[in-house]
């Protein structure tokens, strides 16, 4: 087997143009699902009726079905659904001109919500209840108690899991080519299809994902160090005293 090195180098830089799309799907999915997932986690912790059951069923469904299927379901459902809605409201927009990346945002947000809510739930439960009671008893409002006391502590335990989720999300976006989104995988695949250089293209994709994921892991390691710094301060105080 001979690798076409020139093609590989060319395609590598070509596929790099897909990195912004990959990252934007990841970023948008994380940004949209963070608040939603937080309230989903809270509703499960505080046993809000009906909402809790709905969230549990939703999480179970998302966790129990392959991402490909979620993509295919959304992609065969939403465009025609939007079309009927828009036709009935009388707007003059052609739904099939919409950038397919919108659907990728929707699918991966729905998917991330489920995973993130589980992470938040387990992280919030690791914080001692006394912390919340103490915060409330010194006169903080529940919102203050959460934003100042509970969440910063929960975040430290959640960070490794969030890192895992982000990496899986980045890997998952490689399936967005099924929705004709132009991200790393699809660009490389299209380039490969001209000369049937699939192996070179896939090796390129592999390298790009390894670089991306390594960077993400590095960032999260830094974040963990930064957020967990209060633990070190306490540790040094104890040691000094």
């Amino acid at each position: 087997m001979e690798l076409d090195i020139k093609f590989m180098v060319d395609t590598f830089f070509l596929a790099l143009a897909g990195v912004p799309a990959t990252l934007s799907i990841t970023g948008v999915a994380l940004i949209i699902s963070t608040p939603v997932a937080f309230f989903m986690a809270i509703s499960r912790i505080y046993d809000v009726k009906i909402v809790k059951q709905a969230v549990t069923a939703y999480v179970s469904f998302i966790r129990g079905t392959p991402v490909v299927l979620q993509i295919l379901i959304i992609y065969s459902l939403l465009p025609s659904l939007f079309n009927t809605i828009i036709k009935s409201t009388g707007w003059n927009i052609n739904v099939f001109d919409i950038n397919p990346i919108i659907y990728a945002y929707i699918v991966f947000s729905l998917n991330t919500c489920a995973g993130l809510s589980e992470i938040f739930r387990s992280a919030l439960q690791t914080v001692n209840k006394g912390q919340l009671e103490a915060a409330l008893s010194i006169g903080m409002s529940p919102v203050q108690a959460y934003t100042r006391i509970i969440i910063p502590q929960a975040l430290v335990t959640a960070i490794p899991n969030i890192c895992n989720l982000t990496i899986n999300l980045i890997k998952g976006t490689s399936l967005a080519f099924m929705m004709t989104v132009k991200e790393v995988t699809s660009i490389a695949k299209i380039a490969a299809s001209y000369g049937y250089n699939y192996i070179e293209a896939y090796l390129d994709i592999l390298i790009i994902y390894i670089i991306l994921c390594s960077l993400v892991q590095l960032l999260f390691a830094l974040a963990e160090k930064h957020l967990g710094s209060y633990k070190n301060i306490r540790g040094t105080l104890v040691n000094a005293g």
């Binding site: 087997m1 179970s60 129990g64 392959p66 890997k171 490689s174 991306l212």
Partner: protein, 234 residues
């Protein structure tokens, strides 16, 4: 828009059901071989020399960053060519299932090794020392003392791995393996693209059911095994 026909879902559901064994077989096979690979990797990391640890670390990091579909294509399209040009072996006619099995073995081996290592390291070192000091051989100490305890610790993670592997396994249809997902796409193309949504929903229900079964059986196993653990601790 063609109206959504929910009555078609059960119909296609029973058409997909005969292909569940393929999905389960692929899952079981890749878990089995993945555990073997994972065991070797974990051993390299726990007790190995610097070089073997470095190799295992690199392998695990690489697999962690590789999308399953990319690895699947590299194995399916790249491996036959590589074998043909280096050893002259023609594997192009081998069943697709072998390539799928190989891909998911490579993938699950990495996660499996991390689970094995972390659960092994969570067991107190004193257990091993006590076992060896009363005259058990190292193999006996591992097999009789360490392994049963580590298994209980590893179970929840193992359940997660199994579920993720099953979900990733759905990608095998992209190289033409006829499992639940593959049959679903075949049915859709047989219908000239009609009833796509209904077929996908039926397949999703099937996968969901399988996940629930896996989760349920793991919680039963965990309850059984950890009951023994508590009685020892008391």
């Amino acid at each position: 828009m063609r109206p959504f026909n929910p009555l078609y879902i059960p119909e296609v559901f029973f058409e997909l059901l005969p292909f569940l064994p393929v999905t389960v077989l692929m899952l079981a096979g890749s878990v089995f071989f993945g555990s073997l690979l994972g065991f070797i990797l974990a051993k390299a990391k726990v007790s190995g020399r610097k070089l073997s640890r470095l190799l295992a670390d690199t392998y695990i990091a690489m697999m962690r960053c590789t999308p399953p579909i990319v690895l699947l294509f590299i194995v399916y399209y790249g491996l036959p060519e590589l074998l043909l040009s280096t050893t002259g072996l023609d594997v192009n006619s081998i069943a697709k299932g072998i390539f799928v099995l190989l891909t998911y073995t490579l993938l699950s081996g990495a996660t499996m090794s991390e689970i094995m290592r972390s659960s092994y390291e969570s067991i107190d070192k004193g257990q091993w020392e006590a076992a060896v000091s009363i005259g058990l051989s190292p193999f006996q100490a591992f097999y009789r003392i360490m392994l049963p305890q580590a298994t209980v610790v590893a179970l929840p993670n193992l359940c997660n791995v199994l579920i993720n592997l099953m979900k990733d396994g759905a990608l095998a249809f992209t190289i033409g393996l006829i499992d639940v997902m593959g049959k679903g796409t075949l049915i859709i193309s047989k219908n000239f693209g009609a009833y796509a949504l209904e077929t996908y929903i039926a397949a999703a229900l099937l996968y969901w059911g399988l996940t629930l079964i896996i989760e349920k059986s793991f919680s039963v196993i965990e309850k059984n095994l950890s009951r023994g653990k508590r009685s020892i601790a008391e």
